[in-house]
């Protein structure tokens, strides 16, 4: 239709009239192509080019050798185990928080979400301290280096994901439905089976997939605990850093990428489908009646059990950090902290510098991308959103491999070699943290009537001014939550980062992994706690700022 074309040209002309917007769109596209698409393309290229031409030879090679097939199966089995158990605990917890009169819900909530802000492999470290050869309960669960240990550790690490997803779902189910159910004469168990469970099925499947993805992508825990139970992420890393076999490493990365991306889009599809969840806009307070003992007892038991395990694991790390020699000499000492500081202060400094650079850039950039993709019309808008969100679904290992393949030597897209510099770490972290920020931004923008920004443009402001003076102040809460997320993830990242760190620029997480490698568990524990401390303080500060700025920022009174 020629109409459509002239309209598209009209849109284009309008954008061309706003040089700032036009330049930003071009720059963002360039950055996304270089730092998101190019590295992933490089992974595929490296795997699919064999002796100079396109071939599936590498994939055939890998699939024909049990040595490479095993990690694929192991990863999938581990993922299924962790997802199933994690979703179970997550659901029990979410049910307890939303539907029972359990006391101390705040504390339980804190415990259930704490593993999210700690570095991913701290739980693995705790597992060694607890069940390892020199552990407090050494030998209780047999050999922890393998599927058993990994399952326990990942369940603790990723149950919070399932919990948070399911709390949202359960809260959205109107308690009136349950009341109607019991009013009709159904017992509580029957109400649960016939109402709650069917209504939360899409949420359960979605939570399961999220945990499955995280387990597949996990690098830190298997790096420490996998033993003979080799998984894809670690194998890919070893192929590249240990054997310098880039094609095989890239091929393993693709095998890791495929199930993750499939699970990711399946999850998105499930959530986008109209679920039966009754969203009324305001959270309805559940009128909790006295639950029967046979309902309460198992729920409380599982909650206490899980909370106890989390506290036990983290407690173990704290305790371990103050002991002279774990399992041998339990004299109280600060020695580990001093040693950790002496050999690790450079890592800590680097980590902080990098996180402080990454955090504000990610925050502003993610808000800006959210703004232009929800509010502006331009060709390639969908492409921009999809590529910006891409790294969200891609496991860190794949991204890390992509970055070393893409930036080891100059190319047309990136005329300087980034490997070895701080820039490669910074860009990697920015573009890995971007998707969460964009999601926050889009969610916040969807709550705000677009006519407020139109009013600004109508008053004569251009897009840049409107973004700065109107949009950004209105989405401050989303900005700060993406700043918080970006900081936490920059400080605790490991899976992708481990490929791009160098002698010059190194990070805390890598240092901790080094300590563990040398069996210096106490120093590892000390440094982990320091890292947790930094993250918690930073989160506190950001929360404080948000509360101060956010005061009087409640726009819910503005009619939509």
């Amino acid at each position: 239709m020629s109409n459509k074309r002239s309209e598209a040209i009209g849109d284009l002309k309008k954008i061309a009239k706003e040089p700032f917007l036009l330049v930003s769109i071009i720059v963002i596209f360039y950055l996304l192509i270089v730092f998101v698409i190019f590295p992933i393309f490089q992974v595929f290229k490296t795997s699919l080019v064999y002796e100079g031409h396109f071939s599936f030879q590498n994939i055939k090679d890998v699939l024909s050798q049990p040595y490479y097939i095993k990690p694929l199966f192991n990863s999938l089995i581990l993922g299924i185990l962790v997802a199933t158990i994690g979703t179970f605990f997550g659901f029990v917890f979410a049910y307890a928080i939303t539907r029972t009169p359990m006391k101390g819900k705040g504390v339980f909530r804190l415990i259930a979400t704490f593993p999210m802000v700690s570095p991913p492999f701290v739980v693995a470290l705790a597992c060694i301290l607890l069940f390892g050869r020199a552990g407090l309960l050494g030998g209780w669960i047999g050999n922890i280096y393998g599927v058993t240990g990994l399952t326990i550790v990942e369940v603790i690490a990723y149950t919070p994901t399932a919990f948070l997803a399911l709390v949202g779902i359960l809260q959205a189910i109107d308690p009136a439905l349950e009341e109607a159910g019991s009013d009709c004469g159904a017992s509580r168990l029957r109400v649960f089976r016939t109402i709650i469970l069917p209504l939360s099925t899409p949420g359960l499947v979605s939570a399961w997939l999220l945990v499955f993805i995280q387990s597949l992508a996990d690098f830190g825990n298997p790096m420490i605990l996998s033993g003979n139970f080799s998984v894809l992420s670690v194998q890919a890393y070893l192929q590249i850093t240990g054997m310098y076999d880039l094609p095989r490493g890239a091929t393993l990365a693709i095998m890791l990428l495929v199930p993750t991306v499939v699970a990711f889009y399946l999850q998105r599809y499930l959530l986008s489908k109209k679920s039966y969840v009754t969203v009324t806009g305001k959270p309805t307070a559940s009128t909790i009646k006295n639950l029967e003992w046979y309902v309460k007892l198992p729920i409380y038991f599982f909650c206490f059990f899980f909370a106890f395990v989390v506290v036990l694991f983290y407690g173990m790390v704290v305790w371990g950090s103050f002991q002279k020699l774990w399992g041998v000499d339990s004299t109280f000492t600060f020695q580990n902290y001093i040693q950790m500081w002496n050999s690790g202060k450079e890592y800590i400094k680097d980590s902080l510098i990098i996180a402080l650079i990454v955090t504000p850039i990610t925050g502003i950039l993610s808000m800006f991308i959210a703004y232009i993709t929800t509010r502006k019309q331009f060709i390639g808008k969908n492409l921009m959103e999809i590529s910006a969100m891409l790294t969200f679904a891609v496991p860190g290992t794949v991204v890390g491999i992509g970055y070393i393949l893409a930036f080891n030597s100059p190319s047309i897209l990136m005329p300087v070699t980034l490997t070895g510099s701080a820039a490669i770490i910074i860009t990697l972290l920015i573009f890995r943290n971007l998707p969460v920020g964009i999601r926050n931004g889009i969610a916040a923008l969807n709550q705000i009537d677009p006519s407020i920004e139109e009013a600004s443009i109508d008053c004569g402001a251009d897009s840049g001014t409107t973004f700065r003076k109107i949009t950004l102040p209105m989405i401050t809460p989303a900005l700060f939550s993406s700043l918080a997320n970006s900081f936490v993830r920059s400080m605790t990242a490991i899976s992708a980062i481990i490929f791009v760190v160098s002698g010059k620029w190194n990070l805390i997480t890598v240092a901790i992994l080094g300590f563990v490698d040398n069996s210096q568990y106490a120093q590892a524990a000390a440094m982990s706690l320091l890292l947790v401390g930094i993250v918690v303080i930073a989160l506190g500060v950001i929360q404080l700022i948000t509360n101060t700025i956010g005061k009087g920022m409640n726009f819910s009174n503005i009619e939509k």
């Binding site: 109409n3 706003e18 407020i452 109508d458 008053c459 251009d462 109107i470 009087g552 503005i558």
Partner: protein, 370 residues
């Protein structure tokens, strides 16, 4: 005075792609005089808001042109257009005070702080918001928010002021007083305005001219009284005010009168439409207040016999549903029920029409909006 201060020519907007394309605005033309307030009126989905947003520059037309004061707007982005809009939900900046909201557009211009302050203070006085300058939007009532929104648009002294259903979020009482105030301010400033609404009463009271739209097409452009007394087709007649339609056949045209046979009676009506010829099938447009109800025995050869089906007392008027002998039901309003006889349900009556207010249209099938 410029007769084409705002000129819309052949303006079209198609949403969606080929197979499920939807034509929201279909090749419309409209001229608005300088200082005039023109209302775009129609049911939801008729294209009125889309038209307004194309004038403001928020939608790019699929084809056609908008001219303001002789200047073609195609290549001018919304922030550079000499238009300002009052939004349906006010769209106040929630994080800025009343004063900041109003001064927002001025501050983007190259003015000194003193100049901005002076103009803002003046505007705040004009609009009657003195003392509320420091308030946040959420601390204002709906009516006050609405006035801030108007002030924010007016202070930019736009060539064309655009209103997008500005009163739809107010309660009924406030709507009436606010629309009078908007009209007063608009007339005093002599500012050319386009006003979108779906409320016919609002359109009748506020406009110099009304543009009735349906399905992306302009049905009629005329003054409120012209629209009411001489609607151009069945849709317009039915959309503005309450109306009864009677089928008829033109028997003759003589002495500037239609002689029409309807319900076995011969009735004459003012002649106005040259397209209607002898023997044509036509529609009588009869407003409820143009019907005279008398006792059955007082009827003459022109009046129709009928029965009262329903009678509702409204204080200022009496509303009847009256069933003609052949089954047709008419809606009737009698003013001053105190002075008139009140008929009870079931009474036999005779019905006549006030001849001057009878209006004849070419026959059309019943539309979906009736």
């Amino acid at each position: 005075m410029n007769e084409q201060f705002l000129k819309i020519s052949d303006l079209t907007k198609v949403f969606g792609k080929q197979s499920n394309a939807f034509t929201a605005v279909d090749h419309i033309d409209l001229d608005v005089k300088e200082g005039e307030l023109v209302t775009l009126l129609g049911p939801s989905g008729c294209g009125k808001t889309t038209t307004l947003r194309m004038i403001a520059g928020f939608h790019t037309p699929s084809s056609g042109h908008v001219y303001i004061d002789g200047v073609e707007m195609e290549n001018i982005p919304p922030n550079k257009r000499p238009t300002a809009m009052v939004f349906q939900n006010y769209a106040l900046f929630p994080h800025m005070s009343v004063k900041k909201n109003i001064s927002y557009g001025l501050e983007l211009r190259k003015l000194t702080k003193e100049q901005v302050d002076e103009q803002v203070t003046k505007m705040i006085n004009t609009i009657g918001l003195s003392g509320l300058e420091g308030r946040q939007p959420r601390e204002l009532s709906g009516g006050q928010q609405q006035r801030v929104s108007l002030a924010r648009a007016m202070i930019l002294e736009p060539k064309v002021l655009l209103f997008d259903e500005p009163l739809s979020n107010l309660d009924a009482k406030l709507r009436v007083s606010t629309r009078l105030e908007i009209r007063r301010i608009q007339q005093r400033a002599g500012i050319t305005s386009v006003y979108v609404t779906h409320d016919q009463e609002e359109a009748m009271t506020i406009s110099d001219r009304i543009v009735i739209m349906n399905k992306g097409l302009i049905q009629q452009v005329a003054s409120p009284s012209e629209i009411y007394s001489h609607p151009i087709n069945r849709f317009v007649a039915g959309f503005i005010g309450k109306v009864n339609f009677l089928d008829g056949i033109v028997e003759d045209i003589k002495d500037d009168k239609f002689v029409i046979k309807t319900h076995n009676r011969i009735i004459t009506a003012p002649y106005w439409n040259k397209k209607i010829n002898k023997d044509d099938r036509v529609l009588f447009v009869i407003r409820p207040e143009s019907i005279i109800v008398k006792d059955a025995e007082k009827g003459d050869k022109k009046s129709l016999e009928a029965t009262i089906l329903d009678a509702v007392y409204f204080g200022s008027q009496m509303v009847y549903d009256i069933k003609l002998d052949d089954g047709k039901i008419l809606s009737v309003e009698i003013a001053d029920p105190q002075d008139n006889v009140k008929y009870s349900v079931g009474s036999k009556v005779s019905v006549a029409f006030k001849q001057k207010s009878l209006h004849v249209l070419p026959y059309e099938e019943r539309g979906e909006n009736e």
